[in-house]
């Protein structure tokens, strides 16, 4: 009975443990933000970590995102190595920060996107519980996780209604008001109903919850974990000047 592995992302061919995904994100952000420029060993480590989410996305139905992101990274890394070393002036000032954000911050956002797209709420809970995180953190985090799609959908409905009614805001404050007030009202209502439903199903009792979601490390997890921690470790060594 492996059917519960399927999520909104449809059939998955490569399944990672949620803890692997956490580690990947944290190591990527550490390495890419702290990591030195593309000299020596970092010229391998940084691009390598940046490409992991692109490769992982190829194993999901969202492979198009993976391809577009991969191409973007290739362009920006190439630019960082070649163009910016030699250019100065205006274009340097404009393009450089954009490239920096794409090579240093975007990989984490894409890795987070990968996690969101491929992890069910119960896998997420199971992962956190295995790491002995307290329920006081697991519950809000998992609710938050579950609510993102709801917020996006409610936002779309409100947006549609604004278009249909031809409501245009005259200033930024009323813009914020028209969008955010109905959104919060709708989400708060859904949240209220959701927590009532969860509580009538015994959520939040004093008993230790069990979890049917089977998670565990496989070969693919070990590979990703090695890349993640290896990258982070190398970047530390590079930083203190050992490599």
């Amino acid at each position: 009975m492996n059917t519960f592995l399927h999520t909104t992302a449809g059939k998955r061919h490569l399944r990672l443990d949620p803890r692997t995904k956490f580690a990947l994100i944290l190591c990527t952000s550490f390495t890419l933000v702290w990591g030195m420029s593309l000299i020596g060993v970092m010229a391998v480590v940084r691009p390598a970590l940046a490409f992991v989410p692109a490769i992982l996305l190829l194993f999901t139905p969202r492979l198009r995102v993976g391809i577009v992101y991969g191409i973007l990274e290739i362009l920006c890394f190439t630019a960082e190595i070649t163009v910016f070393q030699s250019t100065t002036g205006f274009w340097n000032l404009i393009l450089l920060p954009v490239c920096a954000i794409i090579t240093r911050y975007m990989p984490c956002v894409v890795a987070a996107y990968y996690m969101m797209a491929t992890t069910t709420v119960s896998e997420f809970i199971a992962g956190m519980e295995r790491m002995n995180v307290t329920q006081k953190i697991v519950i809000p985090l998992s609710v938050m996780f579950r609510f993102f799609p709801t917020i996006v959908r409610e936002h779309r409905c409100i947006n549609d209604a604004m278009r249909m009614r031809n409501i245009t805001a005259s200033n930024p404050v009323s813009m914020l008001e028209y969008r955010i007030v109905p959104l919060i009202a709708a989400v708060a209502k859904i949240g209220d109903e959701l927590s009532a439903a969860a509580l009538t199903r015994g959520f939040g009792g004093d008993v230790k919850r069990s979890n049917v979601c089977e998670i565990g490390f496989g070969v693919q997890d070990i590979i990703i974990l090695l890349i993640s921690f290896g990258g982070a470790f190398t970047s530390i060594l590079a930083k203190v000047g050992l490599i």
Binding site: F22, I25, L26, S29, F30, L32, V33, W34, M36, S37, L38, I39, E80, F84, Q85, T87, T88, N92, L93, L96, P97, V98, A100, I101, Y105, P107, C108, V109, A112, M115, Q135, K136, I137, I139, P140, L141, V143, M144, R146, F147, F148, I151, V173, L176, E177, I180, V181, L183, I184, A185, V187, A188, K189, G191, L194, S195, A198, F203, G204, K239
Partner: protein
């Protein structure tokens, strides 16, 4: 509601409001893609997130609800690429906000405003890597990137900017809290949501 313990309902509420807060924050932070605005994020974000947070404040009645909100916010931000320092700031700011609101038994409106302003300082944690690691960071930048960019950013991140950004977070929080309270009065209270 006088209960001293955090209930499952409270925890779910944290999740819901954290989700809204996070989405608003994320959307506003997009303007940080343009580097000149990056330093202003600490000021701008709390203004926008004031509306959901002040509504959340009306549901806070127990010590810990703001601290946990901070922990959750910090962890969520780490999951999209922030450093551990963000988590540390979010937890400390959440705890301080909790203590401030506790001193008014979670009933005082003005303390809620102050609490939110203090909580808003956590966004500074998102900026902090820029400061702590500044020298080596810019050294690296100078090598890898053009000198001009590094110098431009360096100018914006010299030492005197450091406290200004921190204070701007606080002031942004105050403005956000007042906007949030105005919206609360204008909409949520009258709509029976608060």
């Amino acid at each position: 509601m006088e209960n001293k313990k955090i209930t499952a309902k409270d925890l779910i509420n944290i999740g819901i409001f954290a989700a809204i807060y996070f989405v608003v924050l994320f959307v506003v932070a997009m303007i940080g893609f343009f580097p000149p605005f990056m330093v202003a994020l600490c000021f701008i974000c709390p203004i926008a997130t004031g509306i959901p947070f002040m509504l959340y404040m009306t549901k806070v009645h127990t010590f810990g609800q703001l601290t946990i909100f901070g922990v959750v916010m910090g962890l969520a931000n780490m999951l999209i690429g922030d450093q551990w320092i963000t988590l540390a700031f979010a937890v400390i700011c959440g705890l301080l906000a909790d203590l401030i609101c506790l001193s008014g038994k979670y009933r005082s409106g003005s303390l809620a405003v102050l609490g939110y302003a203090v909580f808003s300082i956590w966004t500074f944690g998102k900026m902090l890597p820029l400061f702590i690691m500044r020298d080596s960071y810019f050294q690296a930048m100078g090598q890898g990137y053009g000198k001009e960019y590094a110098e431009a950013v360096l100018k914006l991140t010299s030492n005197w900017v450091f406290p200004i950004i921190l204070v701007s977070g606080f002031i942004g929080g105050l403005i956000g809290a007042f906007i949030g309270r105005a919206v609360l009065k204008k909409h949520f209270e009258r709509a029976g949501i608060a």
